[in-house]
């Protein structure tokens, strides 16, 4: 393995995609406003991917994030509906906390089942993906839930905030969270344990790492990030949608893997996952801008996913022959 190339691969991929579309798409593509749009569009997948980074480094996977995002949007909308006009100032904060908490609780359940019964994370979260989706529909009474307007609605507006903010508040949040995740992974005991779990769980157990507790914490964190992503999703649509983010779990996993995460565990980086999310946003935006038909978009996105992961393999050939 050449860490150099593997770390660079997502950046190269992003640069290549950007250049490609700068040629294909109209000039508006590399205008500042469109750049901000792309950034905004990477927020939801990006925040989800940051949480997923913990999960994937630890050797797990979480297919339930899409459903958790839906739960969070619904819960947030429901919470906002609890207040009467004029809404008390703390209500949006409380709603935000509820969304995050709801994700975290879902994550705790994922982690608990995975750790307690030693089941494959893929299958556990495949199950909870259905369960949480059902939960979201139930919470929403099988409807989209409208909510009174609050400052939450502005979180994902491309340039709604004051001028000095420059980009959407959601983008700043994404960047801040990326930095926070990078610090946690690199400098904290918890971060080390995350890597240890993914690299060799048996060894971690023997060394007294509280494996089950850590797994639960890791999935809880992944779920909490899904909750925050759900809040951003809510801000985007300004309503709670129980069918939101169906299939997004795969986008999120793809972002992490494009960014250098390994599904075998032990590898992954916060910045990489961010780049992965950005790459996918650039692709989608570029394809729309260039008027590329939908089917070609699918094909390009698929090729990029494989390409980004394949790139480093071409460099580091034939390890143990």
């Amino acid at each position: 393995m050449k860490p150099g190339l593997r770390t660079l691969a997502p950046y190269l991929g992003l640069a290549a995609a950007y250049l490609l579309f700068s040629l294909l798409a109209p000039a508006a593509f590399h205008g500042a406003y469109n750049l901000k749009t792309i950034l905004t569009q990477s927020v939801i997948v990006g925040i989800g991917a940051l949480g997923m980074t913990f999960v994937i480094i630890s050797g797990g996977i979480d297919l339930s994030v899409g459903s958790l995002i839906a739960c969070a949007t619904v819960l947030l909308a429901r919470a906002l509906n609890l207040g009467h006009e004029p809404l008390p100032g703390w209500l949006p904060w409380a709603a935000l906390a509820a969304a995050t908490g709801c994700g975290a609780i879902g994550g705790v359940l994922n982690g608990f089942i995975t750790a307690r019964f030693r089941l494959a994370a893929f299958i556990v979260t495949l199950g909870t993906m259905q369960i949480y989706r059902g939960g979201a529909k139930w919470l929403a009474a099988e409807q989209t839930v409208t909510a009174p307007a609050t400052w939450l609605n502005g979180l994902m507006e491309v340039d709604a905030g004051p001028r000095w903010l420059w980009i959407a508040p959601g983008v700043w949040l994404l960047l801040a969270l990326t930095a926070a995740v990078a610090v946690v992974l690199r400098y904290t005991v918890f971060g080390r344990h995350v890597y240890a779990l993914g690299s060799n769980e048996a060894a971690a157990r023997l060394c007294g790492v509280p494996v089950a507790l850590r797994r639960i914490q890791i999935y809880a964190l992944g779920g909490a990030f899904a909750g925050i992503a759900g809040a951003m999703q809510f801000a985007n649509l300004t309503l709670g949608d129980p069918t939101a983010a169906e299939g997004m779990e795969l986008d999120i996993v793809a972002a992490v893997v494009i960014g250098g995460g390994s599904l075998r565990g032990g590898e992954g980086r916060a910045a990489g996952s961010l780049i992965g999310a950005l790459l996918m946003a650039v692709l989608r935006n570029g394809c729309n801008m260039a008027g590329i038909p939908n089917y070609l978009q699918n094909i390009v996105v698929g090729a990029i996913i494989i390409g980004a992961v394949g790139l480093d393999r071409l460099g580091a050939r034939g390890s143990r022959a």
């Binding site: 060799n200 157990r205 023997l206 060394c207 007294g208 022959a321």
Partner: protein, 518 residues
């Protein structure tokens, strides 16, 4: 010869010194069963502070199981254990370690993606507000104490060699202020030079009053480093705390339950025609071109230090890695190195036994049956391509009895067998196949003395029937006992092949270390 085995082949000071005092560890009548298998049926052990206590026994005798119990990994079914005068019932490995007992595992418990420091401190990090504080100084001190001051605490463990990994594990024990260190076959994958460094480290530990339980299948090592020896047989202690100078034959008899007369079978030197001839063979970049020829009935030993290229040579001959240059003639037909593939090697009648049983040799989740016939399935298939399961079962059953394999029938997953019995499955695969040239890479690694004798006998018998064997090994007495000719590798440079009688341990070591004849 028994004498040969017991003769220490390593030089250096004896570590043995008599010790006395109250035992730090006392184990009495410990029993443990895994389902129907009774792994321990009354194990006793008494270890004094500051002593190196060797634990020996055949494969499957229960040594690792006992260590797992002491290290807090397993709970015994019954029996008494006292450590430093108190009842010993640790809730888990972490508690055991914090109370002074550290286990250095047979399968190393390291995290390859993290660096040395993180590995040593794993599970016991010092933190402020959750942020890990550097303990590099203490880690470095532990490494220094072990004589490995050059090992960088920031190095990724995945990039370290076997010996260094072993040291990281021991450093972890030191770091946690262990009073008792349990070592399960620490030298089974170490070359002689690193064994020396390890022994030196053990001496330092001992001087600090740390007690060590030391498991090994190398009785000469045991004689050198241990103060006392306990012998396990079939899960029970049959000899407790023998003095270190107990004659080897007595230890062997205790282990096996009968006198072990001859270890190496007699070899008769009637060799047939040349079956394999390599010319200018370069197995990996930087290696010197090697000429090699092998005759029917010959057992050719291949000695060398770790990394000298023995495995690379065997693997390239088997087509597992692409050789750089050279040509190969098998049965008169010449092949260029470039086109040499695993398929051709197998078609030309070459068989291979890997040194890495766990990762490459065996499919641990599959049964003995599936593992032993995997290479030769076509032999058991009828014209329609369907397998004749009865014929297969019969063949595997025969092989199992021939090798005296200890298992619950042929459908048991290989992963449940003890190390030695797993090795027998790997060998059995060659026996069931029809290869005429056997390339064996460390075929007796982790195998007990009794089973080793079996393997020697078996391979000698196969050679007598016309097989040609290359035997890569690290343990010189074994190579001297079983081979009829020998070649030595030094950094990819192969010495001329000479009859075994033309070598001595000194000349082998000289070539291995310097690549010249002494």
């Amino acid at each position: 010869m028994v004498g040969e085995l017991s003769k220490p082949h390593l030089s250096g000071p004896h570590l043995n010194e008599p010790r006395s005092g109250r035992p730090i560890l006392r184990v009495l009548g410990v029993k443990k069963a895994f389902g129907a298998a009774q792994a321990l049926r009354g194990a006793d052990l008494e270890v004094l502070p500051g002593e190196i206590h060797a634990l020996v026994g055949e494969n499957g005798a229960g040594k690792s199981t006992l260590m797992a119990i002491l290290g807090g990994n397993l709970r015994p079914d019954s029996g008494d254990i006292a450590f430093r005068g108190e009842d010993w019932t640790p809730a888990g490995p972490a508690e055991a370690r914090n109370r002074g007992v550290s286990l250095v595992h047979q399968e190393l418990a390291l995290v390859p993606h993290l660096n040395v420091e993180s590995n040593v401190t794993l599970g016991n990090e010092k933190a402020r507000f959750g942020f890990a504080r550097s303990q590099a100084d203490r880690v470095r001190a532990a490494l220094e104490e072990l004589g490995y001051a050059d090992l960088d605490p920031g190095a990724r463990v995945g990039s370290l060699g076997m010996a260094e990994r072993q040291i990281v594990e021991i450093a972890r024990a030191l770091f946690h202020d262990a009073k008792l260190i349990l070592m399960d076959e620490p030298t089974s994958s170490l070359p002689a030079r690193d064994v020396e460094r390890l022994f030196a480290a053990l001496g330092r530990l001992k001087a600090r009053g740390i007690a060590i339980v030391y498991i090994s299948h190398f009785l000469d090592e045991v004689a050198r480093v241990a103060d006392r020896i306990s012998v396990l047989r079939d899960g029970a202690t049959v000899a407790a705390g023998l003095p270190a100078d107990t004659p080897t034959p007595d230890i062997l008899q205790a282990m096996v339950g009968r006198p072990v007369a001859e270890i190496f079978p007699p070899r008769q030197g009637n060799l047939g025609g040349t079956v394999l001839e390599a010319r200018g063979w370069v197995s990996r970049p930087g290696a010197a071109p090697a000429d090699l020829s092998l005759r029917k009935g010959q057992i050719l030993g291949l000695a060398g230090l770790v990394g000298s290229g023995r495995s690379a040579l065997l693997r390239s001959l088997y087509g597992l890695r692409r050789p750089v240059a050279g040509s190969l003639a098998i049965g008169g037909e010449a092949e260029l190195a470039r086109g040499w593939t695993l398929e051709r090697a197998r078609a030309s009648g070459i068989g291979f036994l890997s040194e890495d049983r766990k990762d490459e040799g065996l499919a641990l989740g599959l049964s003995i049956r599936a593992n032993s016939t995997l290479g030769e399935l076509r032999r058991f298939a009828n014209a329609a391509g369907l397998l004749r399961l009865d014929a297969e079962a019969a063949a595997v059953e025969t092989m199992r009895t021939d090798l005296a394999m200890r298992s619950q029938g042929i459908e048991q997953p290989v992963g449940e067998l003890s190390g030695g019995n797993q090795q027998k499955v790997a060998l059995g695969r060659l026996l069931l196949g029809d290869a005429t040239v056997w390339l064996l890479d460390e075929p007796t690694r982790g195998v007990d003395v009794g089973a080793k004798a079996e393997i020697y006998r078996l391979i000698a018998a196969e050679a007598a029937q016309g097989k040609a064997v290359i035997w890569a090994g690290s343990y010189l007495p074994e190579l001297f006992g079983i081979c009829d000719s020998l070649a030595v590798l030094h950094r990819g440079k192969l010495s001329p092949i000479r009859p075994i009688s033309a070598w001595s341990e000194a000349t082998v070591m000289a070539w291995a270390a310097q690549g010249v004849h002494a």
